[in-house]
Amino acid sequence: MNPAVLELYHWEPNGFFLKPLIALEEKGASFTSRWFDPTRFEQLDAGFPSNVELRLTLEREGPLLVADGEVISSTFFMLEYIAEAVPGPALMPEAAYDRYRARAWGQFLGLTLGSTTSALGCARYLAPDLARRDGAGLRAQVERIEPMERRAAWLAVIDGGSDETALAALRERLSLPVGRLEASLAQGPWLAGPQYSIADIDAYALVDPLRELAPEALNSAHTPRLLAWLTRIAERPAVRAARARSRSGHPERAFVPGVEPARWG
């Protein structure tokens, strides 16, 4: 059964927030946009929709979709939900093996770039922004955050978000996912089968910021196919419409803490 009422709680169209905006635009879905500023901790206000899955979400800060009152978090699975439940053009590949590939990309990139792209973006933009604020007031706000992993992610940005050694280590971690994406695009124009799908939407949102944040990893010499793929996606009307929702005019500077890096191995 299709959901009758869709509300999307989101911030600037970048990173995790960009994914459902693109998917809903691709579907031509009518939805209510509920804007919030996660750097002002509006997601912690009383009355903000929540459930256990949102409080524990491993993506830390991100959009949430409310479908007939049910709160949906975790962006790759949100994309699958939109693909399955919202009428409009198909966004999930048709063949079972292509669907496997889409989900395998979602898992792999979520656990790699979901962490690295967010951390690089936070170091560049969020850390200096937070440093300009009243330190005591900021800490008082962060202290309210549960669970402790979500709080720790904010404290990591406040206390050491731009340590150069740590940033160099992060950039080195890009070579595995970026290399695999480039190799995959040598096999065909999209990541999971013959058609554009949620795998492309998901990866686009995590890869596009790297053009600016890590030009040494993403450039015309090393990753020509990846750059061409980014351009193909950026030109889609749905992607333009999603980006056009920016209020700051600089969505590419909007970052909040993302997935925790793997704790071992």
């Binding site: 256990v52 975790s74 939900y81 439940a85 079972a96 496997y100 395998a104 979602g106 704790r263």
Partner: protein, 272 residues
């Protein structure tokens, strides 16, 4: 038309070669094993001994260059990520559906599988590797071990094995893993208080995933998971263990690891 096409594809799927490369019915290997058993799909089983590093031998690396277990080969298609592999199994073969009919419950199933795979599982396995995998591997010649570690393709897996084999987990790391296991067990108990199964009202891949992660919790974490503290988890594990597919799958275990499942056997109350 759609139904006919899907039926035809499934008919063809049944007649293609299906091979599963796996270790014990435990953690990631057990996920596709149990999903295939629930679907009633037979497959060519290739047992790899994780503790002998079979998964890093050239013959297996030719199939899965990452050197991780499990891997499934269906016709000319290779699948190496265990959770998406289970969704493939459900979609490609006949048999009882292992995903709920509603999109919302499918979302919930996927959310919990990620929580198991990326939060609960790694903490539990860090403890398991420090007390079981590491000591077992240390029985072997140290030089051979170094060479074996150097053959591991993924850097992240090399680091994990090195830490496990040479007991390099710090006290702080292990403490944090124990804290997470206790906390996540409480979250799961609370979820199962209001949901019959992980996704809601139907048995699904979420339960298969959770069982592989948690079947031995009452034995490995007796103070955290037991009939008094976590009655809903205990009942959920026992209900899954009663399923014929679960029995059949755990009977394929060759070590004491899989044999731990027997503690989920319900015992008739003592007479009198």
């Amino acid at each position: 038309m759609e139904t006919v096409a899907v039926g035809l594809r499934r008919h063809q799927a049944r007649h293609e070669m299906l091979r599963l490369y796996h270790w014990e019915p435990n953690a990631n290997s057990g996920k596709p094993m149990l999903a295939l058993a629930e679907k009633g799909v037979s497959y060519e089983s290739h047992y790899l001994d994780l503790l002998k590093f079979d998964q890093h031998q050239p013959a297996y690396l030719a199939i899965n260059p990452d050197g991780t277990i499990p891997a499934m080969v269906h016709g000319d298609r290779v699948l190496t990520e265990s959770t998406p592999m289970m969704e493939y199994i459900d979609e490609a073969f006949d048999g009882p559906p292992l995903k709920p009919p509603s999109a919302l419950e499918r979302w919930r199933m996927r959310w919990w599988m990620r929580f198991f795979d990326a939060y609960f599982g790694p903490s539990l396995s860090m403890i398991g590797w420090s007390v079981f995998v590491g000591p077992a591997a240390r029985q072997r010649d140290p030089e051979e071990l170094h060479a074996a570690i150097n053959r591991i393709p993924l850097e992240a897996r090399r680091i994990a094995w090195r830490k496990a084999i040479f007991n390099e987990f710090s006290a702080a790391e292990l403490d944090e893993s124990r804290r997470r296991v206790i906390w996540a067990t409480g979250i799961l108990e609370s979820h199962l208080t209001t949901h019959e199964w992980i996704a809601g009202s139907t048995y699904s891949l979420g339960d298969i995933n959770g069982f592989n992660l948690g079947y031995a919790l009452p034995l490995s974490q007796p103070a955290v998971c037991n009939d008094e503290r976590t009655p809903h988890i205990m009942e959920w594990l026992r209900r899954i263990f009663e399923r014929p597919a679960t029995r059949q799958t755990w009977a394929k275990g060759r070590t004491g690891l899989a044999a731990r499942v027997s503690m989920l056997e319900r015992h008739a109350p003592a007479a009198g």
